[in-house]
Amino acid sequence: MIIAQALSKYYGLKPAVQEVSFQIAKGETVGLLGPNGAGKTTILRILTCFMPPSSGTITVNGQDSYTHSLAIRSKIGFLPETVPLYSDLSVQQFLDFAGSIKGLHGRSLGLALDQVSEECGLKEHRKRLIKHLSKGLKQRVGLAQALIGNPPILVLDEPTTGLDPAQIVEMRKLMRDLTGKRTIILSTHILPEVSQVCGRVIILNKGRVVAEDTPQSLTSQFQKGFRTILLIDGPAPEIAAKLKAVTGVQQVHTTERSGEYIVESVSDEKIRPLLAQTVAQAGWDLRELKAGELSLEEIFVQLITDETPEVRS
C-alpha cells in the first residue's frame, strides 16, 4: 500500500507539488495524469526516493520514503522519463548490472535476465550495445531494468514518449501484460494510455490533485446529461434546428466529421426514438444513432481549464 499525505515539493520558491494526498492499494494500476509541469515526475521522484519532499510524507507498506529509503528502493522498479541508460554497455551488461545491484547473483541473476529479456522482447538484442539500439528498443531495455528482480511496485514515467505509433502499441501491450501482477504507477499526459492500461486515474494540475477515480466513474460524474451521436445526410443548419426543437434536447453540436451531430439531453430513454422520428419525418437519411459518452480527454480538458473543485471517489 502506497500512501501519500499532504505531499509538497518546492524548487526554490516555485511550488511543483502542493498538498498532494492519495492512496494506492497493492496490485492496482494507477495513472498519474496531467499536462506537462503538473508535478507528475516530481511525485514519482519522491516516491522512488530520488529526492525528498519539502513537506508531507509518502509511505510504502508503512515505511517512510525518507527514513527507509533503501528498503523502499528495493521494492520499486523505476523507468525514468527520459529512459537514461548506459549507452556504452551492451543490453546484457546493463541488465546484469541492474540485477546485481538489486541483489541478484549467480543462477538467480541468470534466470532473471532470461525472464526480463523474454518479457520485453530483448532476447535477440542482448549482445548489442545500447547506443546502437532504436528508441523503442531502448525503451524496452529501460523497462527490463525496472522489471529485473521482480519488484512488487513498478513506476513508469511517461513510458511511451518519443515512440512511433507501432512502438506505442507494443509498449502499451507490454504494460497491459504486466497489470495485475504488481502495483503499477504510470505517469502520462497521453489519455488513451490511461484508459487502456489503468484501473484508476489521479488527475493533477499545477501541482495539485484535481480528480481521482476510475475512468468510468469520472465519466459518469462529469457527464451532466445524456449524449446521443447521430450521423445524418441533409442540410446542416436545418437538421441542427430541428434536433434542437425536440423536447428534452439541451444542446446540439456539430463535429469535424461531416453529417455528425452530438445531442445533449436531460434523458436518453425517450429522446432517441423521438430524434429518429424527427429525422425520418423530415425525409433525411439517418445513417447512425448511438449513445455517446464523455471521453477522458474531455474530462481532462475540462478539469485543467475550468479548475473544477477536487473530485474523489
Partner: protein, 256 residues
C-alpha cells in the same frame, strides 16, 4: 560487497569503452616513456663525459639521473591525466540522467562512491605499473636502487589516489565534464605548486604552505625515505575529498 563489485564492474566496462581513457592513457605512457628515454640518454652522455674522470664517474648513478626526474615528470603527467579520467565519474551520470537510475537503485551512496573510486584507482595503478617495464629492462644493464624505486612508486600511488579523490569531488559537483576536469586540474595544480610561495610569506604561513603542498610531501619518497608523515598526509587528503563527495551526494536528501 556484491553491489560494490557490480558498480566496479560497470565502471570498468565504461572506462575501457571510452576513447578519452585510451587517449589519456596513450599520452601518459608516451610522456612517461619519453621522460625515461631522456633520463637514460642524459645518463649515457654524462657517462661518456665522465669516463676520463673517476671522481665524476663515481658520483654518477641511475637514481639521481634517471629515477628521480622520472618520478617528478610522472607526477606532472598524472596531474594532467587524472582529471581526464575522473571528470566523467559523476558528471557524465548527471548529464545523461543515469544518476536518477543509480540513486533509485537499492544501493547506498557510499557503496556507489567506493565502487567508482576503486574502479578508476585500479585503472590508474595498472597504468603506473606499466611505467615500471622500462626500469625492468634498465635493471639488466645497470644498478637500480630498488629501495628508491619502491618508495618512489609508493609516493606516486598515494599522490595519484589523492588526485583521483579530488577529481571525483569536482565531478560530483557539476554535470559538465570539461568544467569538472578544469576545476580539478586547477585545484590540484595549485596544491602541487603552492609551496613556491613559501619564501614570500611569513614563517607561520611558510609552515602552513609546506604542510599542504602536494609536491613537498613527494620529496621523501623520491629520495628513498619512507616517512609516515607524507603517507598520512596523502591518505588524509584522499579521505577528505571522498568524505566531501559523499556528504555532497547525501546532501540531496536534506537540501530538498
Amino acid at each position: 560487497m556484491r553491489t560494490l563489485l557490480a558498480v566496479l564492474k560497470k565502471e570498468w566496462t565504461i572506462i575501457f569503452s571510452s576513447s578519452i581513457f585510451y587517449g589519456a592513457a596513450f599520452i601518459f605512457l608516451l610522456i612517461s616513456g619519453f621522460s625515461f628515454w631522456a633520463g637514460v640518454s642524459q645518463y649515457g652522455i654524462a657517462g661518456l663525459q665522465s669516463s676520463q674522470n673517476p671522481y665524476l664517474a663515481g658520483m654518477l648513478n641511475l637514481t639521481d639521473r634517471v629515477v628521480q626526474p622520472f618520478f617528478w615528470n610522472t607526477a606532472i603527467v598524472l596531474l594532467l591525466m587524472i582529471p581526464l579520467i575522473s571528470m566523467r565519474i559523476y558528471a557524465e551520470e548527471k548529464k545523461t540522467g543515469t544518476i536518477e537510475l543509480l540513486f533509485t537503485y537499492p544501493v547506498s551512496d557510499l557503496v556507489v562512491l567506493c565502487g567508482k573510486f576503486l574502479a578508476a584507482l585500479l585503472v590508474l595503478w595498472i597504468l603506473l605499473a606499466a611505467t615500471l617495464l622500462p626500469f625492468l629492462v634498465l635493471n639488466r644493464f645497470g644498478q637500480l636502487d630498488w629501495g628508491v624505486m619502491f618508495t618512489g612508486y609508493l609516493g606516486l600511488t598515494l599522490l595519484s589516489t589523492g588526485f583521483l579523490a579530488m577529481g571525483i569531488f569536482t565531478s560530483a559537483l557539476v554535470e559538465n565534464q570539461i568544467v569538472a576536469a578544469a576545476a580539478s586540474f586547477g585545484a590540484l595544480f595549485l596544491l602541487l605548486l603552492i609551496s613556491w610561495a613559501k619564501n614570500m610569506t611569513g614563517p607561520l604561513m611558510n609552515a602552513f604552505l609546506e604542510h599542504i603542498s602536494l609536491a613537498d610531501h613527494l620529496i621523501p619518497f623520491t629520495i628513498g625515505v619512507l616517512d609516515t608523515r607524507p603517507i598520512v598526509y596523502y591518505l588524509v587528503f584522499t579521505f577528505f575529498w571522498l568524505f566531501l563527495t559523499l556528504r555532497y551526494l547525501n546532501s540531496r536528501h536534506w537540501r530538498g
